[in-house]
Symmetry: D2
């Protein structure tokens, strides 16, 4: 029953959707890292619900740092951020406490917590816990950027609409994405995706998609063989995001349809540096970075909350039931999940560096 992730740098998540607050505690931050509240809020804004493509539950998401900070810098001690739940109306949930929402965690929470769980809004399972997660990771991400390690994520595909691919050197794309709330490289595709989301929302339905992430500036030699491979650590983190059902690196599943002679990435030398001429490996060989951009994709399922009547069970009575979920839904969370993917990527990268070079490394 651990809600902690990381080894040299660790995050613990706590809180419930409709409890007093959600929060996160990060350990292993070096002392003297700048805590830039504007940067943090910009990260939270990317995760927030906005416009017609998101839920109408609007939370202020005001991060309150209650430990580990002094005069705008990390102290090096555990840093805890709380975010109050201001818009937590339990009444919408009370009536359906025992009626499992399909593909939500209501039934599994019951199986696990035996009736003691807070069912409202998904309780501890709520996507709201990603808000403090993004907040604490923003300190890490900012510190990585000072070391020229940059992370960017775009919507590779929304339902059946595709964005263009990252450029071979994704640096400029990453930069462009950093300012975007709706992270799509091709503006025309972005427009079509938004329309599709609005249309699905209007129909009381929801859409999923695939996020693609690139990380630049990594040294070769980061990560470990076997269990602490870069892929293992990143996938572990990414699959903790609610709604994620797949993760692939480099050419991913498609690499299985190539011949070895097509799939292998030949090495070459560019500007005096060893590079690979293709990047089917996604920047990782044997679990360890090879100095090329780390590239991966994350499958985000359509939001489970939809307006339509669904067949389900009352898990207390043990009988079938129907459910129609009232309240405020996200017709898609792909765009909002992007901030979480970026955040966890920053955490994993920094953690892997810190295992090799110590937690002081992040200080620069």
């Amino acid at each position: 029953m651990s809600s902690t992730f990381g080894k040299a740098i660790k995050v613990t998540l706590f809180g419930e959707s409709h409890g007093e607050c959600v929060g996160a505690c990060i350990e292993g931050l070096a002392p003297g890292l700048k805590v830039d509240m504007d940067y943090m809020k910009a990260e939270l804004a990317k995760r927030s619900a906005r416009g017609s493509i998101s839920t109408q539950r609007r939370e202020a998401d005001e991060p309150q740092i209650v430990s580990g900070i002094l005069n705008g810098y990390t102290e090096g001690t555990p840093l805890t951020i709380l975010i109050k739940n201001s818009s937590a109306d339990r009444s919408a949930y009370a009536a359906m406490d025992h009626i499992a929402r399909p593909s939500h965690a209501d039934f599994t929470a019951q199986a696990k917590y035996l009736g003691f769980q807070d069912a409202a809004g998904g309780g501890h399972f709520s996507g709201r816990l990603t808000a403090p997660l993004v907040a604490v990771c923003s300190i890490v991400r900012r510190a990585l950027e000072e070391k020229d390690i940059f992370i960017g994520t775009h919507i590779n595909r929304l339902h059946d609409i595709s964005d263009r691919a990252f450029a071979k050197d994704p640096a400029a794309d990453i930069k462009a994405l950093s300012a975007e709330y709706f992270p799509v490289l091709d503006p025309e595709a972005a427009q079509r995706m938004k329309s599709a989301i609005e249309k699905a929302g209007a129909a009381g339905d929801s859409l999923g998609g695939v996020l693609e992430t690139a990380v630049t500036g990594l040294d070769a030699g980061i990560g470990e063989p076997w269990f602490d491979s870069v892929e293992s650590e990143l996938a572990h983190a990414l699959f903790s995001i609610p709604a994620v059902k797949g993760v692939e690196f480099g050419a991913g599943f498609a690499i299985t349809e190539l011949l070895g002679s097509q799939a292998n990435d030949p090495f070459g030398i560019k500007d005096g540096r060893i590079v690979t001429l293709t990047n089917n490996s996604g920047g990782i060989n044997g679990g360890i970075t090879n100095g090329m951009p780390v590239v991966f994709r994350t499958a985000v399922k359509p939001t489970a909350s939809i307006a339509a009547k669904q067949q389900t069970v009352d898990f207390i009575k043990g009988e079938t039931a129907e459910i129609q979920i009232a309240g405020r839904h996200d017709p898609a969370i792909v765009h909002r999940a992007r901030a979480v993917v970026d955040s966890l990527t920053a955490l994993v990268i920094a953690d892997l560096y810190a295992r090799r070079y110590g937690y002081m490394w992040l200080r620069g």
Copy 2:
């Protein structure tokens, strides 16, 4: 630099491909588990190289248990298995010590270990380390079977050849697979896959594929929210297998092309038990088992060792080079990787149960 995985039940891997031996130590086994050497050897046999579809390096893979066992039962203390490297001819590798094999770990090992690594045969990165891994996990897998938890994996797709899907209740399929070295449900597809592998091998090339795994008999309520979700733990383990580039659960990446109303799994009641009518979630909601079969797919890239001349670098001299890899190659490892997938799945499942019910749980 940890080579350990698991929390309540843990495995540590050690050894190098051309060193004295490879080995694994498993901690957290309950006392009194039967150590069935025939079962263990049958598992190892599934991982072994056989026939024309595998490398001609043939290792006896004789497991030697040097601790933690008495009279055929686990003692409850750390159990260590060694497997000697009998067929370890370093001479084939000496000449190309500094020439990175494309999409192998040679270059990244150099970046990480700074020249102190054992390069022969991939050293610590070698797939040979999966032999003791399979051996120690076989004890766990056997104990799970006594608790009616069964795991089965088939080749879902080899290059461009597909097997039929698991039956909705995969129990019979799992049983059938347990006896097969080449794990394919449709005999005709199996034949075509083998031919394709032989043909690729003859051409000095290699093929990849997708493994699909099902786990039956799981209780609802296993796993944790967030970082220790069933998906997170399984993906972490699976991505530690060399050559794995993708993992997806349930409908996986394809779920992103469904509407929420299509993707959601309605609940129903069958034989007095709560079930889902579809299984797009792969038996997992909110990171926790819902009592349906856990289903996932693992993408295994084509073997990186091929006979063709490839472009690469000499990473000591820092100049471009060509390489032609002599020696004994696997034209595909998908079928051999299956035993490793099964093994790690058993480890993760047992570990998640053990966190909830203690390491004594596995005892029955």
Copy 3:
């Protein structure tokens, strides 16, 4: 830079003495444990400063549970408790920021945190962090009592004044101690100890002492050989308490002056149960409980804050200095440390049980 302890049940501490709050997050609690606020407050009261034998800094220590609780029971999710710092006047500390208080953590914090630490009141090193620690552990302790596992600690010796020993069966003593703020078995010794503390306080000096703890109701077979021995785990926890400089089990250091024939605990049978006739081993053989009371002693040094002028350094200027610590001191913290010892003991015991029987075990 981890502030987390425990494996199956874990506590993370955060906060600074003069920051907004101090807090603790506990993971691995079973769902459905009663959270008895009266019990928690009674535990906190034992740790609080009272009367003339404690500091005049008086904190309300009002525990605020912000996650993991519903309707008075644990949910099974991470449970976080905050305690506000209401009496946090930084002004007393500002002047001496760079002047290391002898035997405090000022200088070592500087060496570690490079000037980014919060120096006021010891910052993250402050004994104030034991308040939320006691609060979260009180839930565990109460649950253990429902399983007939009881923990009691008395002041074995204060400076040069000794209490009587625990009775051979310490059950009644433990019960008597549970109601006492000043935990001494012999009332006359208690009186003399209090007088000594008052006298030391009046002289601007401080006293230390030895706490002795007994745990009853433990099964034989708890704990692990080697690194997770009961002694290792308890000592690890106890040495995390500021001011603790020694820990010994059973006969402790004095056992080294016995012959083996005197030190060994003969086994016998009492009421059909295997017992030892003496308890020099402190209830632990080979790191594992033998079913007898676990008994240990913890050395608590005299409070480092004293009124006298002391020789020290200005660690920024790098020159010698004198310091006279103004403010509110504890002339002794031995009695207050007792609640922390009890709390950590409960945590360790529950954690060791939970590794063997799972986190659900605590539920009963």
Copy 4:
């Protein structure tokens, strides 16, 4: 059921006294550390049984490194050492399998492992497992010495015979101890101790004692507040050594009899460096090194194996019994335990550095 210790650098112990071998695996070693077999064997020799003051069971203790080494240097991968049990005659133990040896782990092993444990010679609990522990830690200790961090341990007191104290600067004493099998600073005291051990041995009895350790060359700022304090980590490791019943730092238990004004260590400046003028704190304030020698004492109980007839139980029959332990006993293990204390101290120090500066730090 973990037999692993450490975070950035970790050791796992395995094996049984009368099984095939005992072994240890160390993870987190930087690549390129010299593996000096002479140094390792010298360390093992200090732990070995010699002369009339030790058991007559004489093991060759030939360390066999089976992974993680190439050309005399660490590779950076897990390094496993096996030591065969050459003198493992089970027959001496078979008759008394169910008769608990007092103050041994026989009964607790039964309670824990339910009859599946290897009882011969203590099985997994045997002090023999410290042989591979010393072997793997010798690599760490040697690397620390190249960084001018030196560790030395002497017998502070054997039964009732005291050695002289460490000099205030213990460097020369540490150096002198490094060559001694029987580590005592005062030659006359050494002679008296040996005579006392021989006499106890001749009487079929055993003696205990107190080891005192000093570590020089440490930077200020190593260790963590709270749970990963230097004291917590060292005590955790030390209490894993069989027979250890007490650990104290600096003035230890005696500090409780001092006034705060006597106990505090005033700071001063010497050769431009901040020092403390006394070292009652044992080089640690707030859990963190202050740059002074770290000093601690470890209480080692008299060997539990004695020749005299003892009262005990047959734990299978559940009835009282008598036992007279035949075979080869150590009349004292204090001198042999010293190598284990040194080894674990090296491991803990290196691990704490590695958390802060990474596992690459040990490389120099």
